[in-house]
C-alpha cells in the first residue's frame, strides 16, 4: 500500500504534532515475581557450568515474565505457557542444583509466585485495554510478537474491535487517529514515534517496566567516532549467534557432509530461519495486493534466497518436512515414487561411502581420470547430496556409475534421475499455481498487519501442507555452516532483552 499525496501530508503533520499519553498500571504480585526472576538471573549469570535443570527453570521463569509484561492475555494463558510447563516447573526446581541454598530459595519463591499469578489470572494490561475499547475500532501495537497467533485468536473472541499491529507493519498502514501501545516505549523502534502514522499514541505499561525515552536523531551519532558505528554493527551481528548455534546443533545425527552455507533471516514473530546462501537456492515469496513492486494484485514468485529483502514475505513450511517440493513431486510420481527415491538413494549412498573411504580430493582426481569433466570438490559434495538430483551431463553421470561399480545400470539410473527431475519441475509449477489460488482467495490484510499468515496447501491429499508467510525483518550478513536439514525451518529466536 502506498500513500496518496493527501495521506502523505497527514503523515508529515503527524510527525510534527504527535501526542503521547501514558497509563502506568501496577501489579504488586507480578512486580514481586519479576524481581525474584531478575535476582535469580543475576545470581546465576556469572556461574560457570550452571546446572541444566536450573538453566531450564530460569529460562521458563524469564519467558513467563517476558510474555506477560507486554501482551494483553490472562496470566498463564495456555497458548503462551502450557499447563504441562507449569507442572514441570516444580519438577525442574526439585531436580536442579543451585550454587547456594539462598539461590534455591529465590527460585522456589519465584515458582510459587508464578503459580499464584496463574491462579489469579487477571492481567491489568488486558483490563486497561478492555476499558478503552468502545464502539470504534482500536489499533493496538505490540512489541512482543512471539505469540501473535494466540493473541489473534483470543482478541478475536474477546475484543473483536481491536486491530492488532506489529512495528514492522506500521510503515504501510493508512493514517489513523489513535494507536495503543503496550509496554515501555524503549521496546519499540524509534520510528514508532519519529515517523508515526497516527496523531496520538496511548502507552499502557507496567509501572516498573516503564523507561522514559527520548528519540535519537538518525544523523546525530557521535559523528567523529567511527568506532561507535563499528560497535553497533558488531552488536547486531553477534546478537543471534547463540540462537543459531543452538538450533543448528540441536540434532547431532546429521551427516557433516550435508552441511551448507546458511544465512539468518529474522522474521516477524520472534522467529528466524536459515536459508542456503547459494544462487540456486530458491524460495517462494508472497506479494500482497497493491505491493510496491508490482502495483497489481497479490502474486506468488519463486526467487533466489539471495535476492530477499526486508519487508518481503517468505513462504516456509510450518508443518511437515521443510521440502514441500519433494512431497508434491512424490505425489506426481504416484506409486513409483518410493522405487525411484530408493534407486536415487542407492547410488548416492554408495558415493557418500566412497567419499568417506577415499576423501574428497582423491575421489575428484579418480572421477576426472574416469572422464568426469565437471568433477571438483563442490560438485562432488552436491552430487552426494540428496537434494541434488543428477549431474547436468550424461558422461559425468556415467563416470560416477563406473567408479561405483554400477556401469551396467547407468542408463536405468540416469532415466530414473530424469524422471525425478521432471517431477520436481512440475511440482514447482503446481505449487506456485496452488499457492496463487490460496493467496488470491485469502484476506491478506492480516498479513500486512501482523506480518504472518498461514496457508493450507493440500499435498498428496493430506492437510499436512501448511505454509506460513513470514515478513522478513532483517537479514544477517554473517554466513554459518548449517546442516541441510535445518535449512528453511523457522525457529524461535531467544529474546532476553525484555527482562530489564
Amino acid at each position: 500500500m502506498t500513500h496518496s499525496f493527501t495521506e502523505t501530508t497527514e503523515l508529515y503533520n503527524a510527525a510534527t504534532c504527535l501526542k503521547v499519553s501514558t497509563t502506568l498500571v501496577s501489579h504488586d504480585l507480578f512486580r514481586l515475581y519479576d524481581e525474584h526472576v531478575k535476582d535469580l538471573t543475576r545470581r546465576l549469570k556469572d556461574v560457570v557450568d550452571v546446572d541444566e535443570y536450573a538453566n531450564r527453570l530460569l529460562g521458563a521463569l524469564r519467558n513467563f515474565s517476558y510474555a506477560f509484561s507486554g501482551i494483553p492475555l490472562p496470566f498463564g494463558h495456555p497458548g503462551v505457557f502450557s499447563d504441562e510447563l507449569i507442572t514441570d516447573l516444580r519438577r525442574r526446581h526439585e531436580l536442579a542444583s543451585f550454587p547456594s541454598s539462598e539461590d534455591r530459595t529465590v527460585a522456589e519463591n519465584a515458582v510459587k509466585l508464578l503459580e499464584d499469578l496463574v491462579l489469579l489470572c487477571r492481567n491489568p494490561l488486558l483490563h486497561e485495554l478492555k476499558q478503552r475499547v468502545g464502539e470504534k475500532e482500536v489499533a493496538l501495537l505490540i512489541a512482543k510478537t512471539r505469540h501473535l497467533k494466540t493473541l489473534v485468536e483470543y482478541l478475536g473472541e474477546k475484543l473483536p474491535r481491536v486491530r492488532l499491529l506489529t512495528p514492522a507493519s506500521l510503515r504501510k498502514i493508512q493514517p489513523i487517529e489513535n494507536l495503543f501501545l503496550l509496554g515501555s516505549p524503549d521496546w519499540y523502534p524509534e520510528s514508532v514515534f519519529s515517523a508515526p502514522r497516527y496523531s496520538e499514541i496511548h502507552v499502557i505499561c507496567y509501572q516498573w517496566k516503564y523507561r522514559n525515552w527520548t528519540p535519537n536523531k538518525l544523523f546525530g551519532v557521535e559523528l567523529e567516532q567511527d568506532s561507535s558505528l563499528l560497535v553497533r554493527q558488531l552488536e547486531t551481528l553477534n546478537r543471534w549467534s547463540g540462537a543459531i548455534t543452538r538450533f543448528a546443533l540441536s540434532d547431532s545425527s546429521h551427516d557433516y557432509h550435508d552441511e551448507v552455507k546458511g544465512r539468518l533471516y529474522v522474521l516477524e514473530g520472534d522467529q528466524g530461519v536459515l536459508l542456503e546462501d547459494d544462487e540456486s537456492a530458491k524460495v517462494y515469496v508472497v506479494e500482497p495486493e497493491n505491493g510496491e513492486l508490482t502495483g497489481s494484485g497479490p502474486s506468488v514468485d519463486r526467487i533466489s534466497a539471495n535476492t530477499l529483502e526486508p519487508g518481503m514475505f517468505v513462504l516456509l513450511r510450518v508443518a511437515g518436512t521443510s521440502d514441500y517440493v519433494v512431497d508434491v513431486a512424490d505425489e506426481l510420481m504416484g506409486k513409483d515414487s518410493e522405487m525411484r527415491r530408493a534407486k536415487q538413494e542407492h547410488w548416492k549412498g554408495l558415493l557418500r561411502s566412497k567419499i568417506r573411504e577415499h576423501g574428497t580430493d582423491s575421489l575428484v582426481r579418480t572421477l576426472r581420470d574416469a572422464g568426469c569433466s565437471k568433477a571438483n570438490k563442490i560438485n562432488l559434495q552436491n552430487w552426494a547430496n540428496a537434494r541434488n538430483i543428477k549431474t547436468s551431463i550424461y558422461n559425468d553421470f556415467s563416470a560416477i556409475m563406473r567408479i561405483l561399480g554400477l556401469s551396467e545400470r547407468t542408463n536405468d539410473y540416469w532415466e530414473n534421475a530424469e524422471k525425478i527431475d521432471s517431477a520436481h519441475r512440475s511440482a514447482g509449477f503446481q505449487i506456485k499455481n496452488r499457492l496463487l489460488e490460496r493467496v488470491k482467495s485469502a484476506d491478506l490484510s492480516m498479513l500486512n498487519d501482523l506480518g504472518y499468515m498461514e496457508f493450507e496447501l493440500p499435498i498428496a491429499g493430506k492437510a499436512s501442507g501448511k505454509l506460513g508467510a513470514f515478513r522478513i525483518l532483517s537479514i544477517s550478513s554473517e554466513i554459518h555452516d548449517v546442516p541441510y536439514n535445518k535449512i528453511a525451518q523457522p525457529f524461535i529466536l531467544e529474546e532476553n532483552e525484555w527482562l530489564v
Binding site: T2, H3, F5, T6, E7, T8, T9, L11, Y12, A14, A15, T16, A168, L170, R171, P189, E190, S191, S194, A195, P196, K217, L218, F219, G220, V221, L223, E224, D226, L229, R232, Q233, E292, L293, T294, G295, E309, P310, G311, L473, S474
Partner: protein, 324 residues
C-alpha cells in the same frame, strides 16, 4: 508562503502545496546550485516520515534549477554541430508547440548557402524533405541516440502535454528549448514503480490570470524511461537491480543522483561516485540504520561542510550535508 507557485487538488479546490513539498523542491534546487559551484561533490542525507513523493519533488527542484542554466549555444556553433551530424542521424524538428522526428539526409550548397537536408515521414507512404539554413537552424535539434528506442518517426508530438503548467513552473515563456533539448540533470535510483505513479499523477496545478492549469511532475522532470522514444528528457530513472545486472553505459553522469530509499543506496552507491548525492530515507523502513551507517562513514571522510547552505527542514525531518 507558496514561493514555488504550486498547488494541489484537494477534493474540489486547489490548495498551496504543503511545507514538506516545498522543502523537497528547494532541496533539489539548492543541491543543483551547490553542485555547480562546489569543486567537490555534495552528499546530502534526509530522513523523512515517509518515502512517498520525496524523490519526485526533489527531482523537480533539480530540474527547475538546471533549466535556468540551459545554455544558449550561439547559432554559429549550433549550425556547425548540425553540419557534423552523419547521414541517418535523428533530429527533432520544432513545429510550433510540437515537434517531429526526422533524419539527416545530407548537406547541400557551399559557404553561406550551405543547408541541411532533413527527411521527414508524414504518412504511411509519404515522406518529404525540409531544408535548414543558418537562419532557421534553431528549429532543429539532434536526438540523443540512447532515447531512440520505440520512437515513432512519423508522429508529430506536442513538446509538453500540459504546456502552461510546465512553462509557468519553469518560469519560462517558451518551452521549446526545454522540450527540444535533452539534459542529464538528475538520476533517480528507486526500487519500485511507486515513483512512476507519483510523477504521472495529475493532481497538481499552477495559477495565472486564466485560472488554474493542471499538470503532473512528469511535465517538468521529463523522465526518459516514461517518455516515448525521441522525446527530450531531463531525468533518468533506474532500479538498483538494473544497475547491478547490466553493464551500464554511464556516459556523462547525471549532475545529481537521488537515492530513493535505503535499499537502493546500500546496493548501488558504490557505483555512483562522479555525481552529487541526495539520499532520501524513510525513518520507518527496514535497513534505514544500515544506510545511515554507510552514509556516516562518508561523512567521516568529508572535505567540507555545507550545513549553512541547506534549506531549513520542517519538523520531523532531519538533514545532513557535506562535501566529498
Amino acid at each position: 508562503m507558496n514561493e514555488i507557485g504550486l498547488y494541489f487538488q484537494s477534493k474540489t479546490t486547489y490548495t498551496t502545496v504543503p511545507e514538506w513539498s516545498q522543502f523537497l523542491i528547494n532541496l533539489g534546487r539548492l543541491s543543483s546550485q551547490l553542485s555547480q559551484s562546489a569543486k567537490r561533490k555534495t552528499r546530502i542525507g534526509v530522513a523523512l516520515p515517509t518515502q512517498s513523493f520525496a524523490a519526485a519533488f526533489v527531482a523537480v527542484g533539480v530540474v527547475l534549477d538546471a533549466s535556468q542554466r540551459m545554455k544558449s549555444t550561439s547559432v554559429v556553433d549550433h549550425f556547425e554541430a548540425l553540419l557534423r551530424l552523419k547521414r541517418g542521424s535523428r533530429v527533432r524538428i520544432l513545429e510550433g508547440d510540437a515537434c517531429r522526428i526526422g533524419t539527416i539526409a545530407g548537406q547541400e550548397g557551399e559557404g553561406d548557402s550551405r543547408r541541411i537536408k532533413v527527411r521527414i515521414s508524414k504518412g504511411r507512404k509519404s515522406c518529404g524533405f525540409e531544408w535548414f539554413y543558418f537562419g532557421n537552424c534553431d528549429g532543429i535539434q539532434p536526438v540523443d541516440e540512447s532515447s531512440t528506442n520505440g520512437m515513432a518517426k512519423r508522429k508529430r508530438h506536442k513538446l509538453s502535454k500540459n504546456e502552461i503548467f510546465a512553462s509557468t513552473l519553469l518560469g519560462i515563456d517558451n518551452i521549446s528549448d526545454f522540450g527540444m533539448v535533452s539534459t542529464s540533470d538528475c538520476l533517480v535510483v528507486t526500487q519500485s514503480n511507486r515513483f512512476e505513479r507519483e510523477v504521472k499523477e495529475q493532481f497538481l496545478a499552477v495559477r495565472d490570470e486564466g485560472g488554474f492549469h493542471r499538470g503532473c511532475l512528469q511535465d517538468v522532470i521529463r523522465v526518459k524511461e516514461y517518455l516515448p522514444g525521441g522525446h527530450a528528457y531531463h531525468t533518468s530513472v533506474l532500479t538498483s537491480k538494473e544497475m547491478l545486472e547490466r553493464e551500464f553505459d554511464w556516459g556523462k553522469p547525471a549532475t545529481i543522483t537521488v537515492f530513493d530509499g535505503a535499499l537502493c543506496f546500500l546496493k548501488t552507491s558504490h557505483l555512483i561516485v562522479d555525481s552529487s548525492w541526495i539520499l532520501l530515507l524513510d525513518k520507518s523502513a527496514p535497513c534505514t540504520n544500515d544506510a545511515v551507517n554507510i552514509f556516516m562513514q562518508e561523512y567521516l571522510k568529508r572535505t567540507g561542510d555545507i550545513d549553512s547552505d541547506l534549506p531549513k527542514a520542517p519538523k520531523g525531518v532531519e538533514i545532513l550535508g557535506f562535501l566529498r
